[in-house]
């Protein structure tokens, strides 16, 4: 009847699977320093190209190049590298605790350390992050007590969250770190709402929203973008594209058809795609977006291109769905090494200091873990009374009765 052939169904597949050679041949990496830097007041439609290229500052030689390069304070740079190392040491210690059965669950951010830390160091006191579970760097580059973080992971007597949350789902208002939700994507619109509130009150504080590549598919991503587009609040909309969402590659979130940064363009929101393994690029672009927000110029989206070197979580074995060697083949390298090389090159750092620092943070984390363990492991030390607190500000009669029934 019809002169049309049968339709066929297309499901995107990653270029390689376990057993194959890693293949990033389709992954384009512009040379560092080649992408222009517009003024913060530039119109969204005049910088659409920035959503499809990749802003890079640190080149292979460890130089800082191009218009996004800037002189950074020496202390800031050293603090950044040390925070990245500290984050890595923290992750390793937590993995050990998990293997030792002291916590049930953990999530590393290996390979993504530059992103959270690069942005946090561009924020001001009072700004508020709405993070996911892979931004521990936001806390670890501030003065948040590591022992508290570990206690949260151990759900013990000193867990600031009273044992109520799964490990890694930290919360600290004081450190501008919104309570992490287990439900993906919900925080994106919270950040927008918080930024709207700041504008409504004539404040100067801004919000940052965090989401993973896979989670951009969640509906609340759209809710956030629509509201950001309509009300133009002071918010930085971060997408951490680490290529994977548990076992699904970024094509299952639509990444094969457009960059994640491009999503924002259809809402008239300026959007930049950035090498997320390049601390200098992260910091520079973050500052640009934060400046836009703080100057009341509205929201900015940033896609941070990176790679999830670690398994999704301790419950996951990535060799089931991607080549074991894929992370080593990742073209953007290791963010720690890249910053280290730069600092060595400019004379701020040495191999020796690096080795020393690694040992120092390993030591710090051991000591901190030891202290934290003394308050209990695997939920030990948590109080059953805490089940009933904080459901409401004041405990209603039915909860009082239930607590009595439990006898606590």
């Amino acid at each position: 009847m019809s002169d049309y052939g049968p339709l066929s169904f297309k499901v995107p597949e990653p270029p390689v699977r376990p057993g194959d050679e890693p293949d990033f041949s389709d992954f384009e990496v512009p040379k560092a320093g080649t992408v222009r830097k517009p003024g913060v007041d530039t119109d969204a439609q005049d910088i659409k190209d920035l959503a499809t290229t990749m802003i890079r500052v640190l080149n292979r030689e460890g130089d800082v190049v191009g218009p996004w390069a800037e002189e950074l304070d020496k202390d800031l740079l050293l603090h950044a590298l040390r925070s990245m190392l500290r984050t890595r040491a923290f992750d390793e210690r937590m993995m050990t605790l998990q293997r030792q059965g002291k916590t049930s669950f953990y999530m590393k951010c290996t390979g993504e350390e530059a992103i959270a830390i690069g942005q946090q160091l561009a924020l001001s006191e009072g700004d508020m992050n709405f993070p996911t579970y892979r931004q521990q760097g936001l806390l670890l580059c501030q003065d948040y007590p590591v022992v508290d973080m570990i206690c949260q992971n151990l759900s013990n007597a000193r867990d600031p969250l009273r044992g109520r949350q799964l490990p890694v789902l930290y919360s600290s208002k004081k450190h501008g770190f919104f309570t992490i939700s287990g439900n993906l994507g919900t925080q994106y619109i919270h950040a927008v709402g918080w930024a709207m509130a700041s504008a409504i009150r004539g404040d100067t504080k801004i919000a940052t929203a965090w989401i993973g590549d896979g989670s951009t598919a969640e509906n609340d991503f759209h809710a956030a973008l629509v509201n950001a587009s309509v009300y133009q609040p002071p918010v930085v909309l971060n997408i951490v594209n680490n290529q994977w969402a548990i076992s699904s590659f970024q094509g299952i979130a639509g990444g094969d058809q457009a960059t994640f940064a491009e999503r924002a363009l259809g809402y008239g929101i300026p959007s930049l795609r950035v090498d997320g393994n390049d601390f200098m690029a992260v910091h520079a672009v973050s500052k640009w977006a934060i400046e836009r927000a703080r100057r009341n110029l509205g929201p900015t989206m940033i896609e941070w291109v990176t790679y999830r070197v670690a398994p999704h979580s301790t419950s996951d074995d990535p060799s089931k769905y991607r080549p074991r060697e894929e992370s080593a083949a990742w073209p953007l390298g290791d963010p720690v090494l890249r910053l280290k090389n730069h600092l060595i090159k400019v004379g701020l750092w040495t191999e020796e200091r690096h080795t020393q620092a690694e040992a120092e943070f390993d030591g710090e984390m051991r000591v901190a873990a030891k202290e934290a363990e003394s308050y209990g492991v695997m939920g030990g030390g948590s109080s059953a009374r805490d089940i009933f607190e904080d459901v409401y500000k004041e405990m209603p009669p039915h909860l009082v009765a239930q607590r009595q029934k439990l006898g606590v």
């Binding site: 508020m128 709405f130 600031p160 969250l161 009273r162 109520r164 949350q165 789902l169 919360s171 600290s172 208002k173 919104f178 309570t179 939700s181 287990g182 439900n183 919900t186 619109i189 919270h190 950040a191 927008v192 709402g193 918080w194 930024a195 709207m196 509130a197 700041s198 504008a199 409504i200 009150r201 919000a207 509906n219 609340d220 759209h222 809710a223 956030a224 629509v226 509201n227 309509v230 904080d390 459901v391 409401y392 500000k393 209603p396 009669p397 039915h398």
Partner: protein, 338 residues
């Protein structure tokens, strides 16, 4: 004190709180310039400006989610979901976020948001303008759920909700917006202008969340109900001449089980009456608690009189709505049982 419709009382509640606290903001679909499809926010944008009263994109999850973000900042958003039938897209934000933020952060963050939304049928609105989804919220710990039935209660409870430090879902029986309604749809509509419960103070006052009201004292049975059904219950009592006590819950969660228990202990018989679908409706919870608390006083099974277990039909609205005739019939059966 002046006479107010429930719409005016609700508007006045927002007005009064906005005047006292600049952290109170109001937004939702069509609530700004236009003043809301039911006019609950009429005039507020003019008075408080577009920064505090404004239109929202048609995205209920975004409305609640942005409201949560604002509340986390320190504002007290009072938002509108245009019809309760459209609250489901926001369900995750309400259940997983608003209701959980205090708990999961151990009090570090809180989300004192008030979500207003019209519920109930009787306006020939079909299945997507008639639903009563309150039981889907009473199952969620961390939320408070309120259904007022009079202008006086609506204002006092809405102010209390906005001032409350926990998230509140505030369901407004739309059939009561302009006047009491006893289910006699064939009779001329009544208006609050002549009703004592439409007599409302102009200024600030609150009613306690979690306290029921005894609308009518009686001894033959207890009718536990809320919203529009309070008036249907009254009509049924009058028409049957059965001396039932009528309890208007006002707050569903936390439930004032005390008042209910006392009444049922006295009357020995209990009807739970609501417009929502029977199965897993809030009536189930009341029945479960009453049988537990009043087991030895009960002279007959607790009866639930509710909407049927179907979507709310359009044309057959009055066969769905538990009107005074059906309630009266059931009340008779209840009081005549053994």
């Amino acid at each position: 004190m002046v006479q107010m419709t429930m719409i005016e009382a609700i508007r006045s509640a927002m007005d009064v709180t906005m005047e006292r606290d600049e952290n109170v903001v109001v937004f939702g679909e069509d609530v700004g310039y236009f003043g809301g499809v039911f006019r609950c926010t009429a005039g507020l944008q003019k008075k408080y400006g577009t920064s505090r009263v404004f239109d929202a994109p048609i995205n209920e999850s975004g409305i609640v989610g942005a409201g949560i973000g604002m509340a986390v900042y320190g504002l007290r958003p009072c938002i509108e979901v245009q019809f309760a039938d459209y609250i489901y897209p926001a369900y995750d934000q309400i259940v997983s976020e608003a209701a959980r933020i205090r708990y999961r952060s151990a009090g570090d963050f809180t989300a004192p948001i008030t979500i207003r939304s019209p519920v109930g049928g009787g306006i020939f609105g079909g299945q997507t303008h008639s639903q009563s989804p309150e039981a889907l919220f009473t199952h969620v710990s961390g939320l408070k759920t309120i259904v007022p039935s009079t202008p006086y209660d609506a204002k006092g409870l809405l102010i209390a909700s906005i001032e409350d430090d926990d998230p509140v879902v505030f369901f407004e029986p739309k059939r009561l917006y302009n006047g009491p309604f006893d289910g006699h749809h064939e009779r001329p509509a009544q208006n609050w202008t002549t009703h004592p419960l439409g007599n409302v103070p102009e200024g600030h006052y609150t009613l306690p969340i979690g306290k029921a009201a005894i609308r009518r004292e009686g001894s033959a049975a207890t009718i536990v109900t809320y919203g529009t059904m309070c008036f249907v219950a009254e009509a049924a009592v009058q028409e049957t001449g059965i001396d039932a006590e009528i309890i208007d819950l006002r707050t569903l969660l936390p439930l004032d089980i005390e008042t209910i228990t006392q009444s049922v202990m006295k009357t020995g018989r209990c009807m739970v009456l609501h417009e929502a679908t029977l199965t897993s409706g809030f009536g189930a919870e009341i029945a479960a608690q009453v049988q537990e608390n009043c087991f030895y006083s009960l002279e007959a099974p607790i009866l639930r009189v509710t909407g049927w277990d179907t979507p709310y039909p359009h044309a057959q609205e009055w066969d769905y709505f538990p009107g005074p005739a059906r309630v009266g019939r059931e009340l008779k059966e209840l009081t005549e049982a053994i």
